[in-house]
Amino acid sequence: MKTSSFTAIALCTALLVAGTTSALVTNDYFFSASYTVLQFVVLATAWNILGGFTGYVNFGSAAFFALGAYSSIVLDKLFEAPITLSILSGTAVAALVGLGMGYLTLRLRGVFFAIATLAFAEVLFTFVVNWDYVGGARGAYVVLQGRPPLGFRSFVQFLFAIMALMAAGAVAIARFVQTSTLGLGLAAIRDDEVAAECSGVPTLRLKLVSTTVSGGLMGMAGAMFPYFLSYVEPHGVFSLSYAVNSIAMPLIGGMYDWAGPVIGALLLGGLQQALQVNVSADWNLFLVGALLVVFVTVAPHGIMGWTLRRNRRAGPT
């Protein structure tokens, strides 16, 4: 299927889902919980572009998420910017930083790259904590005024609709990256970077594209966060759970295909939401951890790996 058709279908599906649920579902819990799950679809998909497609493990997902969130806060404090502008700026800022980080970590491979991203997240966290304009450790408030736009019954329905569109967009971009020559080049880098370079793949340029797109999409998700929560403070937005989830979800769903992170996010994200309100919190964390252990032990290539292996008897995995 051509990219343009896929994108159109994805976006239309998102609009349809948002529209029908907003009309039919009367409780806000559905939208709050689904917002979070869709947010993880975006984060997992974004992470996977750099992690699964290119083979570079990013431990600093929270940093890009936070960049998006804090750029929204800055704009809100400056002139109470509309949400669309915040989203654009959050994406742009995170993409730029992704580009910068990609450039600075050129020579690092494997887990060294991962450690560098972790260090980068810590440095950024310290800067944000000390930046009084955005509230520093005290946090910042974003108060949504007035009626929800476009006739939605509540703000969270509106935010859910936007997040649905973001998820569709992120997935379309990931599919585009995967099926284009860019994707082939990234896969070559993932499999053997030195061999790829020797074959003439422009590894530097492709890696920079990968970090930029990945970072930008994470920032896009983060830009919405202050509107969803109304209160943002550094410890929450830099939480380790963003890094863990954005790695675990593609792992569980399958890292070599755009659909893997989506499956993993829907599954793990949905499970976390369900457990939170049904099982005591201790068991919630325990189950997530146990699930992770079981999955990576039993399903090496994630859920996609299972289904692919069933469909393709012969051939490489």
């Binding site: 709050s32 450790a137 005290r138 946090g139 949504l144 929560l229 759970s241 939170q276 309100v277 919190a281």
Partner: protein, 413 residues
């Protein structure tokens, strides 16, 4: 290991009281920090709230209906709060809501409360309502109408009773929401008292060793040292102060953690001389009606659940907040959020933490955090702390039970 489950016992007691009142339960919903760094506090508060529900149910319930607490663990993670409160309101259809513990998890719930026009009683946040200005928000932390200033005022008013008056101060706190808020309030008080600030820095929550920080403070030779901190750093700073032999006239502040049994017993005599913020002290001047009886019931239950066995911090206030909500609902006669909020605004309540009256912004009309000085602690046991004379109340004047002993470095024994 013998692990009784008093929460099961409490549930059974509630179930028994249900069968006695065969009516539809009155559901009160909230999220609570049951895990995460502040989990100990959250669980202690939950126990107090369960005790209240049980007490009310044995007397026939609220509005003739049995109370059922519906709660979820927010893991001290703000991102979980919107989902949990929308579940409580839209799916569980709770009649009333109260908050979780701490600004970080209170603030995200306020817009939801506002949207549904719910009366919202909150548990220990330092002015999360400042930006929202919600008129149905209430706060049980006894800081007063200007929370950060009210919380920290006592320390400086006590300091200014010294003769000669102190001139300089060092401010230090953790890089987190509560300490930053407290320090901001402290700065206002410092300015009002005309003190000169020689040191004003914060440290990251991940700090392991506080000796360099305390030494840097000592190097400036301040008359006063004011600290705003969370439990691990409260312990670390007090230890470091003793190891470095901090020389200053008054040391202490609004440190969370020193109210708990774990830190009191762990630090023991290291706390002597420290001037600290408390919300309850077992002094003869503090005779809130019912508080001693409440603590006598709370302490064994808490010990069995491996919670803070003293209960001098959140528990009485969590119990009081429910008392206020219950009394207002009873008086209004039905679940009408507007009337309940109006009732809470317009009445004075008698609770286990004394008489409570609210200001227009939902904070206490008259703040009365206690500033005490720890004295005469000899060992690392818990029993000493339960007796009067070890947490001498210096401020406010109404409950004063002793005078400040200064300078700090000479009263460390």
């Amino acid at each position: 290991m013998d692990r009784r489950h008093p929460s099961v016992a409490a549930a059974l007691a509630l179930a028994v009281s249900f069968s006695a009142i065969a009516q539809e339960p009155l559901k009160i919903g909230f999220s609570m920090s049951l895990t995460g760094p502040l989990g100990g506090n959250g669980r202690a508060a939950l126990l107090a709230m369960q005790m209240w529900a049980e007490d009310v149910n044995t007397k026939g319930g609220l509005l003739g209906r049995p109370i059922r607490l519906v709660y979820y663990d927010d893991q001290t993670n703000p991102a979980n709060v919107p989902g949990l409160y929308t579940k409580l309101l839209d799916i569980d259809k709770v009649d009333l809501i109260v908050s979780s513990y701490g600004t970080n998890v209170i603030a995200p719930a306020i817009p939801i409360a506002m949207q549904r026009k719910m009366a919202f009683m909150t548990l220990f946040g330092t002015n999360p309502n400042a930006k929202f200005k919600y008129d149905r928000y209430f706060q049980i932390m006894p800081n007063g109408p200007d929370p950060a200033v009210g919380l920290t005022k006592g320390f400086f008013e006590v300091a200014m009773t010294m003769d000669p008056k102190p001139k300089t101060v060092a401010l230090v706190g953790a890089d987190a929401e509560y300490p930053h808020a407290a320090l901001e309030g402290a700065r206002t008080n410092v300015k009002a008292a005309g003190l000169q600030v020689l040191y004003d820095k914060t440290y990251p929550m991940s700090t392991t060793d506080f000796t360099p920080i305390v030494r840097a403070i000592q190097a400036t030779n301040p008359d006063l040292v004011f600290v705003a901190s969370y439990p691990p750093d409260s312990a670390g700073i007090v230890r470091a102060a003793n190891e470095v032999a901090l020389k200053t006239r008054q040391f202490g502040g609004a440190m969370i953690g020193v109210q708990y049994a774990t830190l009191k017993t762990q630090l023991g005599p290291l706390l002597n001389g420290v001037v600290a913020w408390e919300v309850y002290a077992p002094e003869p001047t503090i005779k809130f009606p019912g508080v001693e009886e409440f603590l006598a019931r709370y302490q064994p239950l808490a010990a069995a659940q491996q919670l803070d066995p003293l209960g001098f911090f959140l528990p009485p206030y969590a119990y009081a907040m429910m008392q206020i909500v219950g009394e207002a609902v009873q008086r209004v006669g039905k679940i009408d959020q507007a009337k309940i909020a109006e009732d809470i605004h317009s009445h004075e309540f008698t609770t286990v933490v004394g008489n409570v009256r609210f200001a227009k912004n939902g904070e206490w009309a008259e703040g009365r955090p206690l500033y005490v000085q720890y004295r005469g602690i000899r060992g690392n046991g818990l029993e000493e702390w339960k007796k009067p004379g070890h947490e001498v109340v210096l401020w406010p004047a109404r409950w004063k039970s002793g005078d400040l002993l200064h300078p700090y470095d000479q009263h460390r024994k």
